[in-house]
Each structure stands twice: as structure tokens, then as C-alpha cells.
Subunit: 212 residues, 2 copies
DNA sequence: CAGCAGTGTAAGCGAGCGCTCAGCGCGGAT
DNA sequence: ATCCGCGCTGAGCGCTCGCTTACACTGCTG
């Protein structure tokens, strides 16, 4: 039986706090399976087999297949929000904030492309109530980006036709990385983040790009 | 029973050549259903009901549920390739080519966001052989964009760190529109395409933007 | 030692799935 | 008048799904 260790380069430090160990292995197996085939095409038997357990073991730790997806999705969204918030908080000006935010956001979607695929593309499989929780986190992320773009425009650092549309475009670039990035991609997550940082600042019409 | 006419603003001129009429109605119903809930979460009974038929009617016109997806996906990819090719062929220089390509590519993904969602996000549900056909079309599209970006760099019109990455970014912006655009979005498909044309040309470091 | 909470399994239930099949109605050709 | 073939249907087959149940093992506590 193939365990997690043979299922690709899954970072061992994901969810170090999840207890017991079997629950974390189930989350890792869920991420792997959902990312590869999509939530609806994944069976509880797939997940259990990937985690090296019997199908019934899933229900010892999660009340349903959907609850497993929710645990994965919420955790991922919280990571992204925290990472974006940190970039903005640490930056001295909107241009630096946008650069750092794009670098980290993009690198996260590349390095964690497996979980990112679940986070970005399996949303609508969530039951309504749990979808609401995740949707709220997504709104926070979007507002964060829109606000910093608007601040940059107000400060005369950026020149864009429409701040909302520009913010959407910034997020789109990063999100879409999860769709196409693989471990065989030519650029490392950090290199890609750096490239995208350049592209985005120019896209926003930033006069002078702050150093990375 | 709810027919296609109540299932949202589906353009009537999609696939005017598909015969008989019932086959086209099934494709429209399939697009609607696959876009809303995903291929695997959609049942043949859903599709048939949306098209106003019994479940068995699907199999008069398509050999399988997957074949219906393939018909939709191939047609969509061919439309996108044709539209992109036309933009490049008609343009006098790479900068104009990129602007026109982005405008039309983006506007297509906005106006046809329902079919675009199926085209871009339900790929992996295709059986291997049919996936190959679609993957080939996707490579054509990607090469088209990469080539025109590289030509622009060679002509000194664009300044990018990495042409391949920049081309990916250009496509990403357009593709991701299918994920978030709805009929209630603030900008029309054409307005969005125009905005994105501006953003992309600046992103590519184009010195002077050609008029749209 | 007994009792118990936590963790796991083998077996299988009820439901809904993709798809099949025998046959019906009807317009057009003979 | 008869027949054919296309489009379509009602019924349902075989299968797999998410999930449940009854039970077993382990290690800790009293």
C-alpha cells in the first residue's frame, strides 16, 4: 500500500499542530487527492488508502468528507491572509507592500501548488455554511489588496485606470499560478515571485520600482 | 420542467452549426451544469432535465457524458485559438498584436464565462485520448502568445526579464477572468478587455501604447 | 486487576450513479 | 396502406458511493 511518503514532495511541516497524527495524515492525503482529481472525483476510499488506513478511519477524525475539505480550505485561506497581511504591515510604503505581497503570494501558490489548487478551485464543493466562512476570508484578502492599491494611487505612486480591476488582476496572476505550476517548472517559487513582483509594479504604473 | 431559456443568459448563437437541434440543447445544458457544479458533480439526469429531455436522450446524440464534455471543450478551445490567431494575423506590429489579443481573449472569457469555466477548469475530467487533443490546442495557444511576446522583445518594443514567464502571465490574466467574472460584474467584457490591454502592455514594458 | 477513552477495522446498507434496452410515435418515401 | 428510421422514453441493471455499525485492540487510570 502506498503511503503519503510516496505521494510527491509534500512538506512535512504543514499543519504541525494538528492532532492526532492520523488526522494530519488524512488532511495531507485529502490535499493530494483533491488536487489531483478534484473533490467530487475523489472517494473516501482513495483518501483512506493514500493515508494508509481503512475507509472507516476517516470518520473517526472528521464527521464527513466535506468537513475534511473544509479543514484544508480554511487552514489554507488563513495562511494566505496572514501572509498578505504581514507583507502589508511590514512595508513602509504601498509600492513596497505590493511588491512584497505579490512575491510572497505568488511564491506560496507555487511552492504549495497542491494545497493552493484545493484552496482556489474546490471552493464550491463546500456546504453553504462552511463556504460562508471561507468566502469571508477571501473578501478580507481581496480588500487588503484593493486598499493597498488605492493607497498607492492616492499617494501618486501608481497610475491605473481602475483600482478595483487592477487589484483583481494582481490577485489573478498569483492565483492562476496554482493552476499551471508544477515541481518541474523552470523557475523556483522565489524566482517566480520576484519576476511577478516586477511585472505587477510595472502593470500598476509604478514610477520607480523599490528594490526587492 | 425548467428548460434552457430559464438557465441564464446563454447566447443563442453558440454552435449554430450543431445538428440536430437537440444535440445543441444538450451541449448548452452541459455547459451550464458543468460550469455551475463541475463535471463530476453533474449527473446525466441534471443535464437531460436542463435540456428538457429524459436521461436516455443524451445517449442518442453522445456516446457518453465524457464525449459531451469533449465536444464542448474542443469547440471552446478552437474558438479561443482562432480568436488569438486572428488578432496576431491582423496586427501590424507585436505591440498591437498583444493589445488586440488580450482585449479579445479577455472579453471572450468574460462574455463566455460559463463555457470558459468548463474550457479552463474541467480539462482533467477528459479521458486521456481526448485530453491529448485539447492539450495540443492549448499548446498552440501558448506558443502563439509566447512567440509574439518574444518578437516584441526582439524588436525592442517590450522589456521583460523572461519572455516565457511574461507570456504565462498574459494568459493567466485572461484565463482567471473565467473564475471570477459574472453577469453582475461592474465592467462589460469589452471594458474589461480594454483595461487589461492597458495593464498588459505596461506589464511588458511597452514604451508607447498603441491606440486600441 | 477492571474499566474506559481513544483509535482502528471488516462488513455492509441505502442511495444514486452512468448507461442500456425494448419499444413507441411520427414524418417521409414507396 | 405500409414500412422505415430517427428521436425519444420508461424501466431498470450493475456498480460504487458516502457513511454506519458492531466490534477489537491498546494504553492509561484507579
Amino acid at each position: 500500500m502506498s503511503g503519503i511518503s510516496s505521494a510527491g514532495p509534500q512538506p512535512a511541516d504543514l499543519w504541525p499542530e494538528v492532532q492526532p497524527d492520523a488526522a494530519r495524515r488524512l488532511m495531507l492525503a485529502g490535499v493530494e487527492s483533491f488536487a489531483r482529481r478534484g473533490y467530487h472525483a475523489t472517494t473516501t476510499r482513495d483518501i483512506a488508502a493514500t493515508a494508509g488506513m481503512s475507509p472507516a478511519a476517516l470518520y473517526v477524525h472528521f464527521p464527513s468528507k466535506a468537513a475534511l475539505l473544509f479543514a484544508i480550505s480554511r487552514s489554507g485561506h488563513e495562511q494566505v491572509l496572514a501572509l498578505a497581511q504581514q507583507a502589508v504591515d511590514e512595508a513602509a510604503d504601498p509600492a513596497t507592500a505590493v511588491r512584497d505581497l505579490v512575491e510572497r503570494f505568488t511564491a506560496w501558490h507555487a511552492r504549495r501548488h497542491t494545497i493552493a489548487r484545493v484552496v482556489q478551485y474546490e471552493l464550491e464543493a463546500l456546504p453553504e455554511q462552511q463556504y460562508g466562512v471561507v468566502a469571508s476570508l477571501r473578501k478580507d484578502i481581496e480588500r487588503l489588496v484593493r486598499d493597498v492599491v488605492e493607497r498607492g494611487c492616492a499617494d501618486g505612486l501608481f497610475t491605473v485606470g481602475d483600482a478595483g480591476t487592477a487589484a483583481r488582476a494582481v490577485l489573478s496572476l498569483g492565483v492562476d499560478v496554482a493552476r499551471w505550476y508544477t515541481d518541474r517548472s523552470r523557475l523556483t517559487p522565489e524566482e517566480l515571485g520576484s519576476e511577478y513582483g516586477d511585472l505587477v509594479l510595472r502593470m500598476l504604473g509604478a514610477a520607480a520600482t523599490p528594490g526587492s
